[in-house]
Amino acid sequence: MMNEKIIEALQAQFGEEGVYGIGESHGILQVTTAVENIVPMIHFLYAHPVFKFQFLTDLAGIHFPDAKGQELGVIYHLHSLENNVRLWIKAYAPIEAPTFPTITGLFATANWMEREAFDFYGIIFEGHPNLTRILNMDEMDYHPMRKEYPLEDATRHDKIDELFGR
């Protein structure tokens, strides 16, 4: 019920072509939008008199190496505490220029989440007050959750393929 209303309101505001990839998982609505719509959309949902999505549960990066032109994504998990409704908003950018606008202007909590997404995926959040590594060591020269890097530690010499039947 609520989910249909949200879709209607979003499409009225951002147009049919601005809100796509609509789905539902565990009763949670998920929509995809363009990178330039992210900040206006979250502000719109925040200020909406009924929906009041005023809590950012999580913000995460994701990497789809096979999706050409939209390899890197950011997923925003919003929560309307008043209506007890959750919403995922996704947006994708090409890996050559993974820039997203920051949402720290609205949610202070996004500060560390965006730093984490930058740390692990190299997503650049434009306008972020302090976009530096947060979890990995500062000397690290790559973004480890990107799928082009092996998960195993690169400094191990004792793990020979032969021993693992590879």
């Binding site: 990995n136 060591m137 690290m140 480890p144 998960l151 530690d153 690169a154 400094t155 191990r156 793990k159």
Partner: protein, 182 residues
């Protein structure tokens, strides 16, 4: 005193006579060191929980002269590294090791400290022997308190048998130099 059950450490081999006892300085110093090793627990995860058990009354590491945990690196003799050491934590371990005064020993407790354990991944140091020299390794995930005690007793044996000159020898200097320690 005659009914006491306290056992005193055995005297090193030497020459005994009326009113005197002669032995080598090395074995005397070794005896003193081995029976009053002050550990510095560097516990980062579950092996640290096993250490708490090792330290508490049931297993009681105090029986081996180690009841005085030194939370200051400057006064510690044995660095006990227990738990996963991430690469970000590595400089901290090294810093603690550098702050310790000679003679110093390192006990690496558990699979993670010894080799990275199951965490063969970009963020975890694959064994603390990549940054500091280790004297005794205790395997296990996590090791039982008995194993940690056994590892500690191995350190005691090393301390007992070490010559007082060892820390000044070129071999030892070369070992430290291989870790980039002056």
């Amino acid at each position: 005193m005659s009914n006491s059950t306290v056992q005193v450490a055995e005297a090193p081999p030497g020459v005994e006579g009326a009113g005197f006892f002669a032995t080598s300085l090395d074995s005397l110093v070794g005896l003193a060191r081995a029976n009053s090793l002050w550990p510095l627990p560097f516990a980062t995860s579950c092996c640290g929980i096993e250490f708490m058990s090792t330290m508490a009354s049931h297993y009681d590491i105090g029986r081996f002269g180690a009841e005085r945990l030194s939370f200051s690196a400057r006064q510690a003799d044995v660095l006990m590294v227990m738990g996963t050491i991430s690469k970000k934590m590595a400089p901290v371990v090294k810093q603690v090791y550098l702050q310790m005064a000679e003679p110093r020993w390192v006990l690496s407790v558990g699979a993670c400290a010894c080799s990275g354990g199951i965490f063969d991944t970009y963020s975890v140091l694959q064994g603390i022997d990549r940054i500091i020299p280790v004297d005794v390794y205790v395997p296990g995930c996590p090791p039982r308190p008995e194993q940690i005690l056994d590892g500690f007793m191995q350190i005691q044996e090393l301390a007992k048998k070490e010559t007082t000159r060892r820390r000044n020898e070129p071999e030892y200097k070369a070992l430290l130099a291989s870790y980039g320690i002056e």
